[in-house]
Amino acid sequence: MTNWRRRLYLAAALTLSIALAACGGGGGSTSSSETNTTRGPIKIWYSNNAEEVKWGEAVVAAWNKDHANEQVTAEQIPAGKSSEEVIGASITAGNTPCLIFNTAPAAVPQFQKQGGLVALDSFSDGASYIQARTGPRADQYKSPDGKFYQMPWKTNPVMIFYNKDVFAKAGLDTKNPPLKTYDEFLASAKTLVAKGGVQAAIWPAPSSEFFQPWFDFYPLFIAQSGGKQLVQDGQAQFTSPDGIAVAEFWKQLYDQGLAQRELYKGDAFGDKKAAMAIVGPWAIAVYGKVKWGVVPVPTKDGKDPSQIQTFSDEKSSAMYSSCKNRATAWDFLKLATSQESDGKLLEMTGQMPMRTDVPTAFPAYFKSHPEYTIFAEQAARTVEVPNVPNSVEIWQTFRDAYSQAVIFGKSDVQSAFNQAAEKVKTLAARS
């Protein structure tokens, strides 16, 4: 064997051994020696939404003033394609902060599977605190093992925003717009596109992200079905007559050019390209000078608005397993979700805290902001995404079927949904 070849083998062997050693290090054993009584400095992340940043800074400042030895360092969640991607990577790297005030309930099953979350029930007052604050709705946030790996924090109940100027231009009633039933909605949509000077009556994102159904199909499905989740008892619910009716309603909007199949870069409602938007109150801050009104999502035959339920678009706060000083983290979490902090959140962001008593707990706010009362009332009638294994994959499966059948009309709705339902059933049953 020549010298160079021997050296080449040596270098290759070294490289391979490094690679294999690294591969072998992937598993590891659990440590979990942390207790829930340890105190000290902690880190938290919050959303990069400007209003929430201000709220976060205020709450952290209030805490730090009284806790010299348990200082909280707060940062905006690092930029990424999505918060869920960033948090997932951070769990793998073991560098999550103690608390993240931007945890999507749909991602919780995956974070839990990754071993990234702390069950809040492990604190003596964990479950009771959550249930007292949120009421019966809290049960939707329990994982299949019956524990809370997230604290329901704030909700943006999804409703229909409409541009009063565009409605007036099209000759439609701006105080009680005809948007209750599917037939009314479709007729209004046609009038708006014909006479309102807009490209679309409504322009939900037609792209394929797993979370897009939360802003087109799901709110209407919840309303039409009387509060059903996408998956219940391991079975897909969207193949029911209610689910098909909702899908057919959206399909008509797309087929008639009343909703656009093209992506709009920006906010079509804020830019006055669409007459309506389907979104929660967080968006008001970005609507600027648009004169908006808001109504509940439509139902097939026009249910009583006070009975209509919708998608919560809720964000939770959660404690992550890399946290050492969990007692401090838990106390801070309670402070951040106290009535005082929730009041600040409402005042600064217009988003609804996940409390049982929002309209009565903050009367001064609703007196000075009467237009927000409807959101507070709707917030009490919200439904969450199902907390099931493979949640993200289930939503992606549904979205793909919906894109195919409803948005692009490439197949029959019922058969596309039936096919997706079979896959969803398998996914929900798999751990």
Partner: protein, 304 residues
């Protein structure tokens, strides 16, 4: 009395392993470490996890990642979405690579000639390459939307539905976008190669009666052949890994999956849905495909 080594003993083990200049290893060590950490380890790890039901977990978490043999590979090959993604790579490369070579070489030749505002044009072609995709994609969305500039120009010839939501046109538009975006870099490579062609060759060709087209074919094209090989292989490798375009331009591989790419699929499966093993298998299959295509390209371009 000290012993004297017998001449028959030969060099010591250390010298046999590390040669006469062991210090050389110290000099190459940084690059070896870089190569091992940045290329060898991830590649080895990707192959390792592609044979497992693997997902990323917190350090110290007890999780099962069972060995599944070729399951991830067979699942991928049976998945119509993956097959569509691979077909899209082929469509992309068929449009992107020849266009990159042809337009890149022609523009480089033009920019190499004594034309007015040469520096301005050279910089202009490079601007898209150094501009963030997110920024320029907004412009392309506007250009190719239903009421966009392109449809206004082509009038009744505009496809319905419009380009980016049209199952047939979405991939060609993505390939065109990528070609336009990357062209500046390849023009730069060709410009460098053109500087190395001696003027005497052009003069001799001119004396022999060759016109501009003949000079381009007989002198320029063969003169930049090594660069063409590089351009083809680089365009193939970067092209096969396209991600940003279907992610942003066509709303995550739309319409209805018509522009999905293998890397986009890896992202959704591995990062969003937690199937890292399956995503790794897609990555390995893509790498094999790219290597095969690159080898064929190299053979075809260098066989003479």
């Amino acid at each position: 009395m000290s012993a004297i080594a017998s001449p028959a003993t030969g060099p010591s083990l250390g010298r046999r392993l590390f040669g006469r200049q062991p210090l050389g290893y110290l000099f190459v060590a940084p690059y070896v470490v870089f190569l091992a950490a940045i290329f060898a380890y991830p590649l080895g790890f990707a192959v390792y996890i592609s044979f497992r039901d693997y997902f990323f977990a917190a350090p110290g978490a007890i999780v099962e990642r069972p060995f599944v043999g070729l399951q991830n590979y067979t699942d991928a090959l049976a998945d119509p979405v993956f097959r569509r993604a691979m077909l899209n790579v082929v469509i992309f490369l068929i449009i992107n690579v020849p266009l990159t070579v042809a337009v890149g070489l022609v523009l480089a030749t033009a920019l190499n000639a004594a034309i007015p505002f040469r520096t301005f044009f050279r910089a202009s072609y490079f601007v898209p390459y150094v501009t963030a995709s997110v920024a320029v994609i907004g412009v392309w969305l506007w250009l190719f939307s239903t009421g966009g500039l392109v449809n206004n120009l082509v009038g009744p010839l505009a496809p319905d539905p419009s380009w980016l939501v049209n199952s047939f046109w979405a991939m060609p538009i993505i390939a065109l976008f990528a070609t336009w975006k990357q062209l500046g870099f390849y023009i730069l490579l060709y410009l460098a190669a053109l500087q190395n062609i001696p003027d005497e060759l052009y003069e001799a060709a001119e004396v022999d009666g060759a016109g501009p087209v003949r000079r381009f074919r007989a002198v320029t094209v063969p003169g930049v052949r090594p660069t063409t090989t590089l351009v083809v292989i680089a365009a193939t490798i970067t092209g096969a890994n396209f991600f940003t375009e279907p992610y942003l331009l066509t709303g995550r591989g739309g319409p209805n999956g018509a522009s999905v790419s293998p890397v986009l699929l890896m992202y959704t499966q591995g990062i969003e849905q937690g199937h890292a093993g399956y995503a790794a298998a897609i990555g390995v299959l893509l790498a094999i495909m790219v290597m095969a295509v690159s080898l064929v390209n190299r053979y075809l371009l260098e066989r003479s």
